[in-house]
Amino acid sequence: MTDPLAIFPLGLTFEAFTDIDFWTSVGIFAGIYTIFALGLQLNVGFTGIQNFGQAGFMAIGAYSMAILTAEEGMNFWLSLPISILITIAFGLIVGLPSLRLRADYFAIATIAFAEAIRLIALNARDLTNGAQGIFGFDDSWDSISESIEDFIIDLGWTDVPGLFPLFLVTWGIAVLMMFSLTRVQGTPWGRVLRAVREDEDAARALGKNAFSYKLQSLAIAASIGAVAGWLLAIQLAFVVPDEFQPIVTFIGYVVLVLGGLANYWGVAVGAIILWTVLEGLRFLELPISETKIAALRFIIVGLVLIGLMAFRPQGVFGKREEMVLGD
């Protein structure tokens, strides 16, 4: 799989540009990546830990929900909190030994963890059904989705896109998360996190258990990743290992720096910009093949990332004073 963002069949015609179904779907992906990158923002922007394993946590959240529901027959709604707990447990297992490492070692250790998870998901066929993936975990969601749809129809909008309920729920969760994370960031707890980001030793000398805060930050980010994992699973209606490649984390970082560091609302802006540009590019009438257009999209993403890091490392909406990259 060379284009993990290829969420739609290629070769959409220009008519799709005004198609509300298409843009609803794009909106859902922007929402999922917003949620995904909120976890990165908590880690990178507010705690100073460079988590490159977020795709792994997303995978654990999605897989544990899907396995519990589709294979163990657990109630869908019960599987959600349990999958969160499982992901937090993994966050702690990863964090306990590796959060003591230097920042660059931590980055490599977490990306290795995420890849190990993906390879295990690909090979542990009894549990994960390998590359075929898991289906049939979303019946409960479908009935909820239909009630939401009926409700909207009752309000007078008759041609509701089928994915619109998921769009609402995804962005509802995203906004709720941005709001609560911003609130929590303003508490003394959030202040300690920022102190740890600035200088761990200074925080420790003032009586703060820096390690515990980093662990909390990672565990929360992991659980946020799990939520993004559920939504991705529901959107696709299946869970396969290929959806959790390291590139997903990289794209999360692009969203993060586009929106700016140390700013939760910026993450949503970053995700919306990225997805609008990526999907809007489909409608350029270029005389080249679709593979080339797909490649072109990523070349642009890469150039944007290089340009941002070179000329605006605090991101589009980040504060220069709170810039955490340059130094």
Binding site: V44, A116, L119, N123, S212, L215, A295, G302
Partner: protein
């Protein structure tokens, strides 16, 4: 999970208790740690494979275990020797279960992979050590090299030797060019580690999808002999694979000699140890940095051609090799070229050996698990020297 507001003497959280227990363990006598570690390793190996089914096998296993622990005792604080003993232990168990022939056969298969890892890792570690750049685009240098060889070898229909030379040359030029337009200026501005890392990820995207733009996603093959095999001592090795092993090892030895013997090599290693110190001692750092890119990218190009020759070309060829190469860099101790070289070869062989026990699809996961374990036990790597705090 409880934040740190409890007063002194009050209860500790689970996490803290666990961390405390880990600390306690890390202070235990060396032999105890080594003994427990090897015991667990043996247990995993044996349980993952099959249980010993005769008294003779049990006795042999215990003897291997005891010999390993005994060999560890005089090796305290010599991690490379320790790793060698542990490795010997693992090999002994594998031979016991699968026979010498099978272990040697997979070992040979691992040598070609190991040569590729080592060629990639030497450059990556020098760049990492000298420029403090965690170059996530290094894997895509390999891909670039492979496609350059494809251009010459398949599109222009010239012998692969020319393709190889062209690949090494163009990849080296790519490395130097990027240093001139990107890394040099960014260093001048005092860019931070994460900033450079993300920039490297952006660059990786540009190279990888630039290749995809030109050549598409379909699998492509270099024009090499894929069927002939060479037999010796009852072992079989593909002709191309053998060439990769021989040329790879010759290049690695030459690189090692260059780093050890020549003034340039010594300067590279000095810089890799401490850029500021080297600068004050009057080394022309910008020149050495350019040569470092020349070597790092050139070797990456070569490794890419090798990888393309024994497998197939696709735009993610190099990226898929990047993490094991990183593993070799960390195992060897960041900035330590000899360490990366050795660790790369060993890792290639060990990963192949692991297919004796786990599904082949999991062999890379084994590499990552080894990486994580080593990071936890000894972050400075097996060949790295412990830095003072």
């Amino acid at each position: 999970m409880e934040a740190g507001t409890l007063g002194p003497g009050q209860e500790r959280t689970m996490g803290e208790r666990f961390a405390h227990a880990l600390n306690r363990f890390s202070e235990a006598p060396y032999v105890v740690k080594a003994g427990i570690g090897i015991f667990l390793l043996d247990l995993v190996l044996v349980l993952a494979d099959r249980r010993p089914d005769s008294v003779g096998e049990w006795v042999l296993l215990l003897a291997i275990f005891a010999a390993t622990v005994a060999a560890m005792v005089p090796l305290e604080r010599r991690p490379a020797a320790t790793a060698a003993v542990v490795l010997a232990n693992v090999v002994a168990i594998l031979i016991l279960y699968h026979g010498l022939h099978e272990v040697s056969q997979r070992g040979i298969n691992g040598l070609s992979l190991g040569a590729i890892y080592a060629l990639g890792a030497v450059g990556l570690t020098l760049v990492y050590g000298i420029l403090k750049l965690v170059n996530f685009a290094h894997g895509d240098f390999l891909t670039f090299g492979a496609y350059m060889a494809y251009l010459v070898n398949v599109t222009w229909e010239l012998p692969l030797v020319f393709g190889l030379a062209f690949a090494v040359l163009t990849t080296a030029l790519l490395g130097i060019g990027l240093e001139k337009v990107m890394w040099g200026p960014m260093r001048g501005r005092g860019a931070g580690m994460l900033q450079l890392l993300l920039m490297a990820i952006g660059l990786a995207f540009v190279i990888r999808y630039g290749i995809q733009f030109v050549w598409g996603t379909e699998l492509r093959q270099l024009n090499v002999n894929r069927t002939d095999t060479v037999n010796f001592l009852d072992l079989r090795v593909g002709r191309t694979q053998l060439i990769v092993i021989i040329v790879g090892f010759v290049t690695l030895i030459a690189t090692g000699l260059m780093l050890r013997m020549t003034l340039l090599g010594k300067r590279m290693r000095a810089l890799s140890d401490d850029l500021d110190l080297a600068e004050t001692s009057g080394i022309d750092t910008s020149r050495v940095i350019l040569y470092t890119w020349l070597f790092a990218a050139g070797l990456a190009g070569l490794a890419g051609v090798f990888a393309g020759a024994i497998t197939q070309l696709q735009p993610e060829l190099g990226f898929e090799l990047l993490l094991p190469i990183f593993a070799a860099v960390v195992l060897g101790g960041i900035g330590n070229a000899f360490g990366a070289l050795t660790a790369g070869i060993v890792l290639g062989v060990v990963i192949e050996w692991s297919t004796l026990i786990v599904a082949p699809g999991l062999k890379l996961a084994v590499g990552f698990v080894i990486l994580i374990i080593v990071l936890i036990i000894r972050p400075e790597g097996i060949f790295g020297h412990a830095r003072t705090v």
